[in-house]
């Protein structure tokens, strides 16, 4: 209890407020959606014009998309007649019954129908592993890593290609197709390219001439040749040199090609991160007596990789879309199965091809956007330490 408080309570002066006035609301033009509109979209006459133009463009594209994919779309039917204007006598958009009938083919390719549960288990195992590893508050993420990098690849291999000894029929990889192949190729590329890329990047900056030269030659050679050429050579030239029963499976050839290719690009991305580390970090690590691998593992790589996350994800997204190139080797990835399906005379109609490509676009968009969002979230989480 202080003096002043007591004094005020005694001497009640009529013209002095004893309570705080609520702050007045800012003018309507300075807050809320209206202010946002004014400031961001309508600040100058030029911006007003641009806003109107872009708005009109968006509305037009949005309407056309909705019209094709939803409003005019055909939802039921048994063959091409359902999706043809001359039969239905109305404007026709996407032909969904075609996609519906071909959905299993898009997912599994020619994988034997009685064995498709094995592919489902593979998808489930992979999804579980991804969620476990990527969600930050999941328990025992070290176990999750072991599960993802050891258990999943081994069991998937046995599950998908079969092992007669435990009663799983052998399924030749020429029968694999659709989303299955896209996911297998992309995950092998993604999982192999990061560790291999880090090793190559470290090799390129190594003091040992043999290691450095080998890394430089590998990276420059692989980066200097288009992926299409690598795959084409593997499919066409390899069988000419190696007897048929010794030459590896087509899918394996493509997997190796893509994994090596992605590693070379990843190496350059990681090297950029390594070079951005100030020399003091290396010197500091050495000063406290860390060996080379400890220094890399504990000090340099955690910082370098953090810097390169946007580029790593960029490489992953590029890789995910590059998987469509395996069609060169006669492998039926998702895009190829769509390409094949749109030729089917049973569904031949003017809209069939467009519908098929729309499905491919949606699939790739969903996956690539998910990757890019996750990278963004991770980046923000790691950036918090910088803002402190």
């Amino acid at each position: 209890m202080t003096m002043s408080e007591g004094d005020l309570a005694v001497a009640k002066i009529a013209f002095v407020r004893d309570t705080v006035i609520d702050p007045r609301k800012p003018p309507i033009s300075m807050t809320g959606p209206w202010a946002w509109l004014r400031e961001r979209l309508l600040s100058t006459p030029f911006n007003v014009v641009m806003t109107i133009l872009v708005g009109a463009l968006l509305a037009w594209v949005g309407y056309e998309l909705a019209r094709f994919l939803l409003i005019d779309a055909v939802w039921t039917g048994v063959d091409r007649d359902a999706c043809r204007e001359e039969v239905q006598q109305r404007a026709i958009g996407a032909c969904w019954p075609f996609v519906w009938e071909r959905l299993n083919y898009f997912t599994y390719g020619s994988y034997p129908i009685s064995e498709r549960w094995r592919v489902d288990i593979f998808f489930a195992m992979l999804a579980f592993g991804v969620v476990w590893l990527l969600s930050l508050n999941a328990p025992r993420r070290d176990l999750g890593a072991a599960y993802f990098f050891i258990i999943v690849p081994v069991t998937s291999f046995i599950l998908l290609s079969g092992w007669e000894a435990i009663g799983l029929r052998t399924v030749d990889t020429s029968l694999w197709g659709g989303v299955l192949v896209t996911i297998v190729v992309a995950s092998v590329g993604i999982v192999v390219s990061l560790p291999l890329g880090i090793l190559l990047a470290l090799g390129r900056r190594s003091d040992m001439p043999a290691v450095r030269m080998a890394s430089i030659v590998f990276i420059e050679f692989v980066r200097g040749v288009p992926l299409v050429t690598v795959l084409f050579m593997a499919s066409v030239m390899l069988p000419l040199f190696v007897p048929e029963h010794l030459s590896p499976d087509k899918l394996v050839r493509a997997l190796v090609g893509i994994a090596l290719f992605a590693s070379a690009y990843m190496a350059e991305v990681v090297r950029a991160g390594l070079q951005s580390m100030p020399k003091g970090q290396y010197e500091g690590a050495m000063a406290v007596g860390l060996g080379y691998w400890q220094m890399m593992r504990l000090i340099i790589l955690p910082q370098a990789l953090k810097v390169t996350i946007p580029n790593i994800v960029n490489t992953y997204i590029g890789l995910f879309k590059d998987t469509t190139l395996v069609f060169i080797v006669g492998i039926f990835d998702l895009l190829r199965t769509i390409e094949v399906s749109r030729i089917d005379p049973k569904w031949a109609a003017p809209v069939t091809s467009t519908t098929g490509y729309a499905v491919a676009a949606i699939f790739y968009l969903v996956f690539c956007y998910a990757m890019s969002r996750y990278a963004r979230v991770t980046e923000e989480r790691l950036a918090k330490s910088d803002k402190r």
């Binding site: 071909r102 299993n104 069988p239 005379p345 109609a349 069939t352």
Partner: protein
């Protein structure tokens, strides 16, 4: 001296036997036929909604497998592009190439292929709008024609118009898909490609009924399966599978009635079905090889109708692919 000569002869014979028996033996040991197929051509090689391969060329490979294994499903189909198909055959990646391949002299000789027959007589044709009121390709003077770039089709087109002293305006596109779209949008008077392709592309047009395929065929495109040089026994096997299917159609043997036909008294049928003679064994197969082919896959007419004819959306008429005694070109030497 005599002894040495006979030993030498035996060695040569064995070596020849070894070389020639290789592919059939390899296929039998492997337990499956490796068949190079198209994978993206309706009616000839295309996986269906269940992922099972369908088509005329595909059924031909099934017939070869049926003749060897009595099981049409012992085939591994390898999807090949136009570029890598010959390498795949030469390198032994596939045992037989059934991928709508045109039989030409250079392919038969310098590429080292042996074409085993013609399972589809194709040729380049024209698709036009009915409203154009044109009934013959010779009335196309001054017409604009949509065509795929860099193909023999484009060259044939120019040759034909020059030989017929007509003027031509070609509109070229990188892919067949674009060319058809442009034709449908009215950018050209006609669209040209192989006739079998015209039938499947026509289905894709906005109003398929408003277009006709002109009767003129301006090029020869005999499509057939091929094998490698240097294995005569395998060449014979693949060649005679086709002949057997044509002979079966000619003699009226179908997938349905092949069981009854075994009791037939017709000597030609008896020889074909192996109830008389040992013609299958001469090929390195079994006596009932044709029963297996026709029973499991069908005769030539049946697989034609199922894949490209009346049983398919393409509805191509037999035309040149009819039997020789019905106005077509399909003719098979007799089994005897």
């Amino acid at each position: 001296m005599y002894k040495i000569a006979s030993l030498f002869a035996l060695a040569v014979l064995l070596a020849a036997q070894g070389a020639s028996a290789q592919t059939l033996k390899t296929v039998k040991d492997r337990g499956a036929l490796n068949c190079g197929a198209n994978g993206t051509l309706a009616g000839f090689g295309l996986p269906d909604a269940q992922g099972a391969w369908t088509g005329l060329d595909v059924d031909f490979c099934r017939a070869v497998a049926a003749a060897i294994f009595d099981d049409p499903n012992k085939v591994k189909f390898v999807a090949l592009t136009a570029k890598d198909r010959f390498t795949a055959l030469q390198s032994g990646e596939v045992d037989v190439l059934a991928r709508n391949t045109t039989w030409t002299s250079s392919r038969d000789t310098s590429l080292g292929l042996n074409f085993t027959g013609v399972n589809y007589y194709d040729g380049q044709g024209f698709l036009v709008r009915k409203s154009l009121k044109v009934n013959s390709a010779l009335e196309l003077n001054g017409a604009s024609v949509c065509v795929q770039q860099g193909t023999t089709t484009e060259l044939n087109l120019a040759d034909y118009f020059r030989a017929s002293k007509m003027t031509l305006k070609t509109v070229t596109f990188a892919t067949a898909n674009e060319a058809v779209k442009a034709y449908d949008a009215g950018r050209c008077d006609a669209y040209t490609t192989d006739a079998s392709g015209l039938y499947s592309e026509r289905l894709r047009l906005a109003s398929a009924g408003d277009h006709i395929i002109l009767p003129e065929i301006i090029s020869k495109e005999p499509l057939g399966p091929a094998v490698r040089h240097g294995d005569d026994q395998w060449f014979d096997v693949v060649k005679w599978v086709h002949f057997a299917m044509v002979n079966a159609e000619e003699l009226g043997i179908t997938q349905k009635n092949v069981g009854e036909m075994l009791k037939s008294d017709n000597p030609e049928i008896k020889r074909l079905l192996g109830t008389e003679g040992a013609f299958g064994e001469q090929l390195g197969l079994t006596k009932d090889w044709v029963v297996r082919i026709v029973g499991k896959v069908g005769n030539y007419g049946e697989i034609f109708e199922k894949n490209v004819g009346q049983g398919s959306p393409m509805k191509i008429a037999r035309g040149l692919n009819g039997l020789w005694n019905k106005g077509g070109l399909q003719y098979a030497p007799p089994v005897r």
